[in-house]
């Protein structure tokens, strides 16, 4: 709890940013997907990256993980440039499409990735338990439902207990009970001091986040705590706040 007190989720003391994005520019197919984006993400918190599909959320996440080719600006993670070999053990990344082997069982998948990460087999059981798949450990991944498959992919990211966890739409299509469980898992990881960045196109998910990045057309329309956003826009829910902010932006006023 000592860590949680120092940089805890509700704590007002803010730790130094663990992810720093400065003037990031990403082009794809001759078009600026992200023209110029800057933000900082702190440890000990869940940061939600919300916005409609196609607004550049995944691209930003890929840039933070260091698998995205960028065209300007810089991304720094835990004091290193994104994608630095030193970070490969410390950053966990879950893509939107489950990236696991469909022809292997759940346990075989996890054991393989545990072997690549060099972590013990006990971490396999722990990760399975966290995502609620212990009962399906011997099922072949290809036979599982879409929601179960994405949980296998999430379990892989939890194997190494990473300091930074980048999760691209991890709760899509999951049943509400499990979704709440996963959010509480993310919460306890954050309390232990991890940096958690979770994207979603469902604005309701904002309720679980300590800080929100609202994104539209490759740019951030807001970067603040949920309560502050509601107060600032005089709205009751994040969806209305998002709309209010977008309307203000198109009126030509400052964000």
């Amino acid at each position: 709890m000592a860590t949680a007190d120092r940089q805890g989720r509700a704590g007002r003391v803010t730790a130094a940013a663990s992810v720093i994005v400065r003037s990031l520019r990403v082009c794809r197919g001759g078009r600026d997907v992200i023209p110029d984006l800057s933000t900082e993400i702190r440890p000990g918190q869940i940061t939600g990256l919300l916005g409609p599909s196609g607004c550049g959320k995944s691209t930003l996440m890929r840039a933070i993980v260091g698998v995205q080719r960028t065209h300007g600006g810089s991304v720094e993670v835990l004091g290193q440039p994104a994608g630095n070999p030193l970070l490969r053990r410390r950053v966990g990344y879950v893509t939107q499409a489950p990236s696991v082997y469909g022809d292997l069982t759940v346990k075989e998948n996890l054991r393989f990735f545990a072997g690549v990460l060099g972590v013990g087999r006990d971490s396999v059981a722990r990760a399975l338990d966290t995502v609620g798949l212990t009962g399906a450990a011997d099922d072949v991944v290809g036979q599982l439902s879409g929601g179960q498959r994405s949980r296998v992919s999430l379990a892989v990211a939890l194997l190494g207990v990473p300091d930074v966890l980048i999760l691209d739409e991890p709760t899509v299509g999951l049943d509400p009970v499990l979704r709440r469980q996963l959010w509480s898992t993310f919460g306890s990881l954050a309390e232990a001091g991890a940096t958690i960045l979770v994207s979603s196109h469902v604005m309701d998910e904002a309720a679980h986040c300590d800080r929100l990045l609202l994104m539209r057309d490759g740019a951030l329309v807001a970067d603040d705590e949920p309560q502050a956003l509601l107060a600032q826009t005089d709205t009751r829910d994040i969806e209305s706040a998002f709309l209010a902010l977008v309307e203000r932006g198109s009126d030509g006023r400052t964000r």
Binding site: R88, R89, Y101, L104, V116
Partner: protein, 244 residues
């Protein structure tokens, strides 16, 4: 490169193959069936089987491994697992060597079956030792795997990957000396055949059959292994940690 990671990759690829009984059966049995068919076709003329058998022993593992590797690695690229592995503490060589070892193991089994069948049951006469025949077959299989790995970078779908077979493999079959002796090929084509790895694989099989182990045999094998190393290096260059 870390041996534990390399072996984890090898183990996983073998496990995936073991799960896929149909592919495994096709990989191991089809070459044997085709060699038997050939033997039966030339039932009345043993000399023809003796002439065609060794080149085909070199060719089958090459073709089969090319197809299997190009499709498997393409699947790994498109499913996002390759990107995930590259964001983990895994060296590119771990990935490539891990795959090569797994396919080497399968190729050894395939080559043993094919060589055992042709020499043991179908009566192919070979001057050199049988293990050398198997060695050439394994080297050819690894060559096919390395080439398959390389072309998977240029295919967007499994359909495209399979189409690389006629584009890259059939010309090598036509020019390797199976249809026309390499020395009798017209100007230009003879030189082209000198640049293709399968020519050396087939030459080494021929030498093994006629004169047994010789310096020329080892020189041919060395060329095949050189091509393998060059292709794996090219393959490593196509594994990009950052993509657009």
């Amino acid at each position: 490169m870390k041996p534990a990671v390399t072996l984890a990759i090898t183990g996983r690829v073998l496990l995936q193959l073991r799960r896929d009984h149909r592919t495994l059966a096709l990989m191991l049995l089809v070459p044997c069936l085709l060699l038997t068919l050939l033997w039966w076709m030339f039932d009345r003329d043993e000399l023809v089987f003796g002439r065609l058998g060794p080149p085909l022993l070199a060719m089958f593992p090459f073709i089969v491994m090319f197809l299997v590797t190009s499709v498997t690695t393409l699947r790994e690229r498109s499913s996002g697992t390759l990107e995930r592995l590259l964001s983990m503490p895994m060296g590119k060589l771990d990935f490539l060597v891990g795959y090569a070892l797994a396919f080497c193991a399968v190729a050894s089994v395939q080559a043993s079956l094919a060589v055992g069948l042709t020499v043991g049951l179908l009566g192919l006469d070979i001057a050199g030792p049988i293990w050398a025949l198997a060695l050439v077959a394994v080297a050819d299989a690894v060559l096919g795997a390395a080439l398959g790995l390389f072309v998977s970078a240029f295919a967007e779908t499994e359909f495209q990957a399979v189409q690389f077979m006629p584009a890259l493999v059939i010309p090598q079959i036509l020019l390797c000396g199976l249809f026309v002796p390499r020395a009798s090929l017209p100007d230009g084509l003879g030189q082209a055949s000198d640049l293709l790895p399968l020519s050396y694989a087939v030459d080494s099989m021929r030498r093994l059959q006629t004169t047994g182990l010789s310096g020329d045999f080892w020189a041919d094998i060395a060329v095949v292994i050189g091509f393998v190393i060059a292709t794996v290096a090219l393959g490593a260059a196509t594994l990009k940690r950052r993509t657009a």
